[in-house]
Symmetry: C2
Subunit: 191 residues, 2 copies
């Protein structure tokens, strides 16, 4: 039964990998970037250092993998929010709020870590994906007469994504919701 | 007359420094970042290499000084626009457009140069300054009933600055003006 065996191995590898990423994220969140050394990650994950090196060559690779997993989860979350029931503008607002909350929660990362992680290509792809989701909802909204149609959906999507990024320096979820309301007000049809 | 002498020396130094910065900016704009070597900068400025090294230790220092000069000029420009005649919202719109055009014109820099330059502290200070200008105009506008007063001016300023940064990937000045109009629409009082 080679197939089953492979699946089990694959499952095991994924579980170990996930455990490594979870542990590293906790270490950085609690003790800062400096605390994340290969020895400490191995110890806290409960595996040997040699095993850890079979998965990742260095700390930077662990952090990048963790971040990639986060970003993928965020993109799925946004796609799921988009597919909920509602008018285009209700769905747009829900996607905008979900995105702004991600930016808001991210701000604890610290500048050094953020600069390192945001170099990755997966970030550019995630931004493209988000922008595509927003653009499609804006197009739908314009057809329904709920969104201004005097500016192209792609330009409006760029405006949205940039404006909502302001959430990363806000101090409360209430402020994030106000930012979403203000950004959404810019999208209404002109009278 | 030691004072006059000093002034002449100071003036001469400033002129040489400005010439170095201008030459370097042209070199990078025409031939890319790789073209800016200390030898080439000296030759094109028409000074000796030894003289160049008396002004700057390396290419990075030249580029940072050039960028600092640019940013200072931009900040003065925005303050000058703010002080023109008009209602608060007219002045706000003029400042927003001037800022968005700066972001728009900057996008030729290239990612590598931009990443290097935007590490500097002077950028953080310039952003604070811009945000202060916008916040004051928003406060004035809210008092005059032309800007929404259900969200604090500082939060609205954060929204503005982020939204307008979208200008750096736009393809025309007309698109920049549309971005300003959309961003401004988000600031109107709610009915």
């Amino acid at each position: 039964m080679p197939k089953l065996w492979n699946e089990t191995v694959e499952e095991h590898r994924r579980a170990v990998r996930d455990a490594i990423l979870d542990t590293t994220a906790e270490l950085v969140a609690e003790h800062g970037l400096r605390a994340a050394t290969m020895s400490r990650i191995a110890t806290e994950t409960g595996i040997g250092r040699a095993t850890l090196y079979k998965y990742f060559p260095d700390v930077e690779a662990v952090l990048l993998a963790w971040h990639e997993r986060q970003v993928t989860a965020h993109v799925s979350r946004l796609a799921e929010v988009r597919d909920r029931a509602g008018t285009p503008v209700e769905r747009l607002e829900a996607v905008m709020e979900a995105y702004a909350l991600i930016a808001y929660e991210r701000h604890g990362h610290g500048d050094e870590l953020a600069a390192m992680l945001h170099r990755g290509e997966h970030i550019a792809m995630a931004h493209q994906h988000l922008r595509g989701i927003v653009r499609d909802l804006l197009t739908e909204g314009a057809h329904a007469g709920e969104v201004r149609d005097d500016v192209a959906a792609d330009e409006l999507a760029g405006y949205c994504v940039h404006a909502l990024a302001a959430a990363d320096s806000l101090r409360s979820r209430a402020a994030v919701r106000r930012l979403v309301a203000v950004t959404l007000a810019g999208l209404r049809p002109e009278h």
